[in-house]
């Protein structure tokens, strides 16, 4: 990656769904650049296409047309396996519903992405996983199963899991949506500290409080970016 290459760059990105009543456009030609170290909030009304966009940025879904470059790599030309490897190496996900494996310890959940690493970059996955759990403040809960943890703690395990591979981009779809406001603030504080460390984050949220800690905010409406502004309060 040469300096100055944006982490995310989309050109005329479109996504449409083909249903019984013909083709429905969801995303209508998005042009978006996210530089390294940005903390981007995506806001907008329900059904505006935020999750659809995030799924494409996370290489879980493919655009119908337009291009998407992640770290300078055109994702459109990659096959299924290459996308899986990209998710493993360059992306970290945090979901609204935590999405931890049930009946599996926090530690094992955090080790999981490293088991799928084909490049074998991690000499000792367990040590790394422990360090990541320490970093999110769960050093004392490593062997607990998700059902033995609070929502906030579960989400912190999910953040540790997303971080442990040091991804270029961390993606979170309404990470505080299932949490009370206190726990939500905890998670956002965690994200802010990651931002401060220079990580790149994209967070979908409904809540202005949360958008307020991001360095840039875009608003999506009907599959189009209707607003894109830096947040001068956050550097």
């Amino acid at each position: 990656m040469t300096p100055g290459t944006p982490v995310v760059e989309t050109v005329a990105l479109c996504r449409s769904l083909t249903g019984a009543d013909g083709v429905t456009p969801i995303l209508k030609g998005l042009n978006l650049r996210v530089e390294k170290g940005e903390m981007l909030a995506i806001m907008g009304p329900s059904g505006s296409g935020k999750s659809t966009l995030l799924n494409i940025l996370g290489c879980l879904d493919r655009p119908s047309s337009g291009t998407y470059r992640l770290d300078g790599v055109d994702v459109g030309g990659l096959d299924d396996d290459a996308l899986a490897d990209l998710r493993n190496q360059k992306l970290g996900f945090v979901f609204q519903g935590f999405n931890l494996l049930p009946r599996t310890s926090a530690l094992e959940n955090v080790i999981l992405p490293m088991l799928y690493d084909r490049a074998q970059r991690y000499a000792d996955p367990e040590v790394r996983a422990r360090a990541a759990l320490e970093q999110v403040g769960l050093g004392h809960r490593m062997n607990h199963h998700p059902s033995q943890l609070s929502g906030g703690q579960q989400q912190r395990v999910a953040v540790a899991r997303a971080l442990v591979t040091e991804p270029s981009l961390l993606i979170a779809d309404e990470p505080t949506g299932n949490l009370d406001s206190h726990m939500g603030q905890e998670i956002m504080a965690l994200f802010s500290s990651l931002h401060a460390q220079g990580r790149t984050l994209i967070i979908v949220t409904h809540e202005p409080d949360i958008a307020a800690v991001c360095s840039r905010i875009i608003v999506l409406k009907d599959g189009q970016i209707v607003e894109d502004r830096p947040n001068s309060a956050v550097v």
Binding site: N55, G58, L60, D61, D80, D81, A84, D85, R87, N88, Q89, F93, F95, N99, L100, L101, P102, R103, T104, E108, L112, P113, L115, Y116, D117, R161
Partner: protein
């Protein structure tokens, strides 16, 4: 993903769903268990049969009257009176390849000893009979040359006859009446047990064939001529020689079929083993069916499991699992289940076999090869029936799987 991680992941998943895993395995446990038990029974039977056949005597050749039965047309060996004492004498004189020979003159008789009486077959035989059959005298002695030549009225009895007439008492030295003729018991044969087809070999009386011929009026017939081949390596040569001599003596023209049947130990062994082999095979087929049913059980549960774990599959795909990682995961899980079932089944089979041996006295014997076979089969079942569910899991699209509630 490394194979080690795959296996430990699969073991973890099996452990997390312990009850369901055990139920899933049950079919394979029963299948493998029954294969092991069935093969043990079959192998035990085969071994017993083989041992019995070899106890018939080394180099033994059996000549019976009548043509070999082919296609069920002719009356069957032994149904005609085509063997005579003349044949015996010719063979004795002319055959080079044989070292011992005896007629078996069959004289069905009633034997009376005091108040007890018993119906059996007195056999008129030569001095060679014991040697040819590898039989032994337990007490007393066998008749000697002078007794044979002077047609003495002496007999050697089997254990069943002795038991019937004298109970636990030693019969040697006692006098009994056979067809109203008093004869002296000079020996008692060792116990030999039943034949392969269940006939009681101890229900027998041996006496000199000369005595039967001259002193026992009634329905006697030459049931068999038994021969020992001089050289165990030349049993076939001996058979050919016997056939030539007998055909000439019976004045058969070259296009006539043999009017006698010659068998050796190998054929008898094959015949007997063939029967047990068919039985073993049948048992194995039944057992294999239960293995297949077990496999279908695994497939069923794995399909349910794939649906239940759709979200898990989505999570793994999001974290970087390729399709083939998911495929491998579910396949390895199915294999772990079936191998675990196979191990439990093998243990069960060993236990049941031991219990059967205790209770029934069968010579059932667990063989390593049957365990290896059953284990191999259960891995095969795991792969075969795990394949489809694993394919379904791998075919899921990551976002669809993540959206699944």
């Amino acid at each position: 993903m490394k194979i080690g991680s795959l296996i430990s992941m699969a073991v973890g998943s099996v452990r997390r769903n312990a009850v369901r895993s055990v139920l899933t395995m049950l079919g394979v446990v029963i299948g493998v268990g029954s294969v092991v038990v069935m093969v043990a029974i079959g192998q035990g039977a085969t071994k017993e049969v083989t041992a019995k056949v070899s106890r018939l005597g080394t180099n033994l050749i059996v000549i019976t009257p009548g043509a070999t039965r082919t296609g069920g047309v002719s009356g069957g060996a032994g149904s005609q009176m085509t063997l005579t004492m003349d044949d015996l004498e010719i063979l004795q004189k002319e055959a080079q390849e044989i070292s011992a020979i005896t007629p078996v003159l069959v004289a069905p008789s009633r034997v009376v000893a005091g108040g007890a009486n018993w119906r059996t077959q007195a056999l008129g035989v030569s001095l060679d009979y014991l040697k040819i059959r590898s039989w032994e005298v337990q007490s007393g002695r066998y008749f000697d040359t002078s007794e044979f030549q002077s047609r003495r009225k002496v007999v050697v009895v089997g254990q069943t006859v002795a038991q019937a007439l004298f109970g636990e008492e030693d019969p040697v030295g006692r006098t009994v009446r056979i067809r109203e003729i008093p004869v002296e018991i000079i020996g008692l044969l060792s116990r030999k047990g039943p034949t392969v087809d269940g006939a009681d070999q101890d229900d027998v009386i041996l006496m000199p064939s000369t005595t039967v011929q001259t002193r026992m009026a009634g329905r006697n017939f030459l049931g068999q001529i038994l021969v020992s081949a001089a050289d165990p390596g030349r049993v076939d040569a001996a058979r050919r020689e016997i056939a030539v001599i007998l055909r000439e003596n019976h004045r058969l023209s070259p296009k006539d079929p043999d009017d006698f049947t010659i068998k050796d130990q190998r054929e008898m062994a094959e015949l007997a083993q063939g029967t047990t082999r068919v039985m073993t095979l049948l048992l194995l087929v039944v057992a294999s069916v239960s293995l297949v049913v077990g496999g279908i059980g695994i497939m069923n549960i794995m399909l349910v499991s794939v649906t239940e774990r759709t979200r898990e599959i989505g999570i793994r795909r999001a974290l970087g699992a390729r399709r083939r990682d998911v495929l491998a995961q579910f396949l390895v899980e199915a294999i772990v289940l079936s191998v675990l079932g196979g191990v439990l089944g093998a243990l069960l089979g060993v236990g049941v076999t031991a219990a059967l041996r205790q209770v029934t006295g069968w010579a059932a014997e667990v063989t390593i090869s049957s365990i290896v076979l059953a284990m191999g089969f259960s891995v095969g079942v795991g792969v075969l029936f795990g394949w489809w569910p694993a394919r379904r899991a791998a075919a899921l699209e990551p976002i669809e799987a993540l959206r699944f509630q």
